[in-house]
Amino acid sequence: MLGRMLSALFVAIVLVMPARAELTIQISEGVEGSLPIAVVPFGFEGRGAAPADIAAIVAADLRRSGRFQPLPREDMVGEPHEAQQVNFQSWRAVGTDNVVVGKLRALADGSYQVQFQLLDALRGKQLAGYSIPSRPDQLRQTAHQISDIIYETLTGQRGAFDTFIAYVVATGKGTDKATHRLAVADADGYGEQTILESTQPVMSPAWAPDGKRLAYVSFNKGRPAVYVQNVVTQEVRVVAEYPGLNNAPAWSPDGKRLALTLSKDGNPEIYVVDMATLRLQRITRHYAIDTEPAWAADGRELFFTSDRGGSPQIYRVRLDASGAATRPQRLTFEGRYNARASVSPDGKHIAVVHGADGKYRIAVQELNTGILRVLTDARLDESPSFAPNGAMIIYATEENGRGVLAAVSIDGRSHQRLSLQSGDVREPAWSPFKRL
């Protein structure tokens, strides 16, 4: 009898004990948004006021990329300048994932040492830290380099903040004091330098792959001609001034050839100029308009605009070893107007001016699939140019009757306006990565 009671109890106990299993929680979607980051104003060790607000430049860069959401200064929970001074908990509390702290030190010889640390607030550790020597006139550039490091550490993609943009500014349009200016500035619009100023129109700036020369079209001599100018030495060279159009220069990826549009043989056709000999090779032979050439990343194909099909569309030819071209193949079929192809640095996409329903917008077509995505939503967008990291496209648009520059991320999610100064700004061209 005792045995039976005991066995009964034992059974009861076993039934009551709970089973152990690891709980699995499935997450299948998140939220879209930019990474919250706090760029704390840098400390300054030196006399007087800091010569530059490095943190502000960095925060503006990161915001402009669309990938980051810098914390406004009034919401910051402290002003640390070094990792040890950072209380990660309080930064986490304001929703920041990453904190950037830094210091600007004036040296005896008049130069500066810029030191910064990128910290992970969630894990409480340092992700990157550098100390960069800098001349007084290089401080903005150093700030852009810091932005590049932060961008690449957190997104895995190379940053394009330490780059240039070239563009044309037209003032006094319609008056007799009209001027046209070809200018180069930092990618954030600061530090503008005039390359060329003229009363006659200037068009189509194009960066050579070495980042040191600009090709452009100028009406200086009363008619359009293609020039190449070294932005450092200011040396100028005429490349094409044939009768008719000399237009739309585009550098080959190896920098040895220039594709352009000439109408000397009766109507606008694509030619390739050898930069060493200035010998011409004709690429298209058709009575329609063929213009706006752009090189594929491997330098063996050319994209161009042609209205041989009735309205402007993008076509592509392959160049063989001798430089001769195959029959053009049409690439764009959506919309009644597709022109001014610009090739992404990885060669997988082209950005075009896409006209449909009376609106002209920037669209990106994936070359593999032919799928076209419209990225902008105004009505007079033109001249798309890829950043050298392929993450953004800068283009010209119209705002309040004025020409301004704007940038859009490649996925179309983030838009920025870059209104630089007075006058009409147009035809932006993003420089390649700087070569040291």
């Binding site: 709980l23 929680i25 499935q26 997450i27 979607e29 939220v31 997104t155 895995g156």
Partner: protein
């Protein structure tokens, strides 16, 4: 012209005549009918031909002979047919005779069979009679046996009865004990079942509580997950997360990487930012369920 005619009358006349002749000839020749040969259609009567052909005579003779032969053959055929008919009639008669024979045979056989059956029946009856007699004798013997057995049985029963009464007395005692024991066992069992029910109820509540908090945790992590723009649909990263009873995350381990460092980091960040995770109140004692959590992050929809 008239001088001409006067000076050369003969020549002129000749000329004119010749001309006229030529003209006439030409015109007349044109009108003559063509001379095409035509076939005559007059029929020829063969029967009235007088000439007698030898070949024809021979042919007539041949025909007659052929007719004779044909007649002879006819006669032969007729004779043949008559013979055949006769033969058939004879055969028929034979058949009929044979059939009669068979029937006679069959009847004889039937009668034989009958006789045999009747014989057998008689034999059977005799056998049965014998068996009956035997059975009766056996029966009597059995009855006698049974009576003897019955007597024995009665004795045994009497003995049995005594034993049974003794047994019953013992059994009653036994049963009393068993009843007591059974009652106690039942009580114990009921108590055990009660406990089981209570445990189940607690467990069910625990499960629903677990589910409820699972949903809360999922929501909080989801809200804190900033999906990077480079993320592709279908990317999977699995985390193993350890919590302390307050819900704070103390360790995060990547069990399965998505292959994209940026995606992996975003997923880790999501869990860390969601810390402390919502946990059920300590009194419920469910902390063990939540001590170690497994988070499979799979991007199914891109917004």
């Amino acid at each position: 012209m008239w001088n001409l005619i006067r000076s050369y009358p003969r020549s002129v006349l000749l000329a004119v005549l010749i001309h006229l002749t030529i003209v006439v000839l030409l015109t007349v020749s044109l009108r003559w009918p063509s001379t095409r040969p035509t076939l005559s259609n007059a029929p020829v009567d063969v029967v009235k031909a007088v000439a007698v052909d030898e070949a024809k005579v021979q042919a007539e003779l041949d025909k007659q002979r052929a007719r004779e032969r044909a007649r002879e053959q006819e006669i032969k055929r007729a004779q043949e047919q008559a013979r055949r008919a006769e033969a058939e009639r004879v055969q028929e008669q034979k058949r009929l005779a044979a059939v009669k024979e068979q029937r006679a045979e069959e009847q004889r056989k039937l009668k034989e069979a009958e006789r045999k059956r009747q014989e057998q029946a008689r034999v059977e009856k005799e056998r049965l009679a014998k068996i009956e007699a035997e059975n009766k004798a056996l029966e009597q013997k059995r009855r006698a046996e049974q009576e003897r057995l019955a007597a024995l049985e009665a004795k045994r029963k009497a003995e049995e009865e005594e034993r049974r009464k003794a047994e019953e007395a013992r059994q009653r005692q036994e049963e009393a004990r068993k009843r007591r024991e059974a009652e106690e066992a039942l009580k114990a069992q009921m108590a055990a079942e009660e406990q089981q029910r209570l445990a189940d109820a607690r467990r069910a509540q625990a499960m629903s509580t677990i589910d409820k908090y699972r949903v809360l945790i999922e929501a909080k992590v989801r809200q804190n997950w900033l999906v990077p723009p480079s993320a592709q649909q279908g990317m999977v990263c699995v985390l193993s997360v350890r919590l302390i009873p307050s819900g704070d995350v103390v360790s995060v381990q990547i069990l399965e990487s998505s292959g994209d460092a940026v995606f992996d980091r975003s997923v880790e960040n999501a869990v860390r930012k969601a810390s402390p995770l919502p946990l059920p109140p300590a009194e419920l004692g469910l902390y063990d369920e939540f001590r170690e959590l497994r988070f499979p992050f799979e991007l199914q929809r891109k917004g």
